[in-house]
């Protein structure tokens, strides 16, 4: 009987245990109990008692320090970082001492002074055969009385009905949302529908317009559409779609595909800052390699090649914002983006 599993309730199954040839070892039973110092030496017991007491006293001191520092340092609209830090450390450390004093005290007490005899308790079976039989019988009876096994037509139509029942809910919920694609396709960059006035590119966060002449080679401007800061409703929603990165490089470094010849101005190009992977701002511009890097998942876009993906998990190039210069020399968006910005979605190709 040297295997701890022997004698355990066995309910069917085939187990191949090996290595029993040659005989197993007898379980020698629990090792003899070794008394602790505190069990035999009253002075050791007394010492342990004093240690436990001191730990509890440390806890009391911790609590008092907490209360004192809580009331001594008041925080308010004028509190300094130093005061906040001091209070955090004082409150935290005093709580730590208050808690650790109690905790280590109780544990030390239990370890050194409470009985340390290990005891053995018998396990019981989880349930009896009789219970199980009765339970199975009840379940069988219930199923039998419904007659579901004998009348398959009822069962099958019920399953069909239950499967279809949630559909109205889907239809109802489906109408809750606005037309997603319509919203995701349009940004503030579209010229005013009535006047045809084109939207100026302005600095983020100040909202001041940008002169083409100010964009020197190697520059990177973080850009928002004019009027964004004046929005009260849905400002962040609009900003989440319309942020743009504006850069200027040598025109001969840029590879321009047919149809996009007029989208830039003298080497100045503007691309959506929202990653086509899962939407982080692709804000890292390396002005010598002309790479754009997303700090969230490291998608890398090649600015010289119309922001094609050259590394990382994104699949699509960043959408380009067509820009030109207005009569006063400021940069404006010729039109909205020609495709939805940001992460791909199911209806993306719908128009």
């Amino acid at each position: 009987m040297g295997n701890p599993s022997d004698g355990a309730p066995q309910q069917g199954g085939t187990v191949a245990t090996a290595g029993q040839a040659g005989g197993q070892f007898e379980d020698p039973g629990l090792p003899p109990h070794r008394p602790r110092l505190a069990d035999t030496d009253p002075r050791a017991a007394k010492r342990a008692e004093r240690q436990v007491t001191w730990l509890f006293i440390i806890s009391v001191i911790g609590t008092i320090v907490f209360l004192v520092s809580y009331f001594a340092i008041d925080l308010g609209p004028t509190s300094t970082v130093d005061a906040i830090r001091t209070q955090n450390i004082l409150l935290g450390l005093s709580t730590a001492f208050a808690m650790l004093g109690i905790g280590t005290g109780i544990v030390h007490w239990a370890k050194a002074l409470m009985p340390d005899h290990e005891v053995s308790e018998a396990r019981h079976e989880l349930r009896s055969e009789k219970d199980r039989e009765a339970a199975v019988k009840i379940v069988d009876d219930i199923i039998e009385e419904t007659g579901i096994k004998r009348r398959p037509l009822i069962r099958n139509t019920l399953i069909g009905a239950l499967a279809l029942a949630p559909l109205p809910a889907l239809a109802v919920f489906g109408d809750l949302g606005p037309n997603a694609n319509d919203k995701l396709r349009h940004t503030m960059w579209a010229p005013n529908a009535q006047t045809g006035k084109k939207v100026r590119l302005t600095r983020d966060p100040d909202g001041t317009p940008i002169k083409a002449a100010d964009v020197t080679i190697g520059s990177a401007y973080h850009v928002i559409p004019e009027g964004l800061n004046d929005l009260h409703e849905g400002k962040l929603n609009e900003k989440a779609k319309s942020v743009v990165l504006l850069m200027r490089l040598n025109p001969q470094d840029l590879h321009v595909s047919p149809g996009r010849e007029n989208w830039g101005y003298n080497g100045i190009v503007a691309y959506s800052k929202i990653c086509t992977h899962v939407g982080c701002p692709v804000a890292l511009y390396e002005q010598q390699t002309h790479h754009l890097l997303c700090p969230c998942h490291q998608s890398t876009f090649d600015l010289t090649n119309e922001c094609q993906v050259i590394f990382g998990p994104a699949s699509r190039p960043l959408p380009q914002l067509p820009i030109e210069v207005d009569s006063e020399g400021y940069l404006v968006a010729t039109s909205d983006f020609h495709e939805p910005v940001g992460p791909s979605y199911w209806e993306r190709e719908y128009s």
């Binding site: 602790r36 110092l37 505190a38 970082v81 130093d82 190697g218 520059s219 390396e286 390699t289 700090p295």
Partner: protein, 261 residues
């Protein structure tokens, strides 16, 4: 006298001598640099330019060409301005030790006078960003506006707590801790390495002053919550909890379940 000569042969004597020498050098250096600060604002003299040219030919021309017009191993420096030189040489990035993904910060090779002379020479080659106005470096700007500008224009590379971050293929944006206001200003102005240029038209001198103010504020005040674990965000926090937090807890569980002697 005999005692002294004996002590001179003591093995620690060499160490003591070295320490004394180093201290003296440091002291002289400190005096020299504080003396130099005073004349930083003045324009460059003709002798600065000619001294600078000598230094340039001796130390920089191998890569940047005799007339600083550039070569295969180094860009042209015509028109980069004095600010670029002061940043690159003043932070030890130039001269480069070896070609690599990017020039890295290291102990400066030239003293302030020589840096100034080099800057004077390069500035004489073509118009470019000059050394910043000291009034913009005082750290007395608007920290809130600076913080806003910093998050929009800088934090994506340098991290929201200015702790630095990775770029592609071995390049990185360095931590801004301990970088002088003048060098931060010059870096924005000139766009060293792969950093974009933030000209005065993009971020005004006042905006740059605000950014510097913000950086100085957060560096000076430290973190209200205690040690900042490098300001690196959730990764260092998670690592700390797994290593230190769980480590302490496991030590307690072992103590708790061990047998008292």
């Amino acid at each position: 006298m005999k005692a002294l000569s004996q002590k001179r042969r003591h093995p620690l004597a060499v160490v003591a001598l070295l320490v004394m020498g180093l201290l003296l050098t440091g002291l002289l250096y400190a005096v020299a640099t504080s003396a130099n600060k005073a004349k930083a604002d003045t324009g460059f003299s003709a002798s600065d330019v000619s001294e600078g040219q000598k230094l340039f030919v001796a130390n920089c021309a191998t890569c940047h060409g005799m007339g600083a017009q550039g070569s295969a191993s180094g860009p042209s420096l015509v028109g980069v301005g004095a600010a670029a030189v002061d940043f690159q040489v003043g932070t030890g990035r130039m001269p480069m030790q070896m070609q690599g993904p990017q020039a890295q910060r290291k102990p400066e090779q030239f003293n302030e006078d020589q840096t100034r002379q080099l800057a004077a020479y390069v500035a004489s080659l073509g118009a470019g960003p000059s050394l910043p106005d000291q009034a913009m470096l005082d750290g007395q700007g608007d920290a809130t506006h600076g913080g806003e500008l910093f998050r929009v224009n800088c934090a994506m590379c340098h991290n929201a707590a200015a702790a630095g971050g990775a770029l592609t293929r071995g390049k990185f944006a360095p931590s801004l801790a301990g970088v002088s206001a003048q060098h931060i200003y010059e870096a924005m102005e000139t766009g060293p390495q792969n950093m974009p240029v933030f000209s005065d038209a993009n971020i005004s001198p006042e905006g740059k002053r605000d950014i510097i103010t913000y950086l100085q504020t957060i560096e000076k005040q430290g973190s209200p919550g205690g040690a900042d674990l490098g300001g690196l965000g959730p990764v260092s926090e998670g690592l700390f909890m797994w290593v230190a937090g769980l480590g302490i807890i496991i030590a307690f569980t072992i103590w708790l379940t061990s047998r008292t002697s």
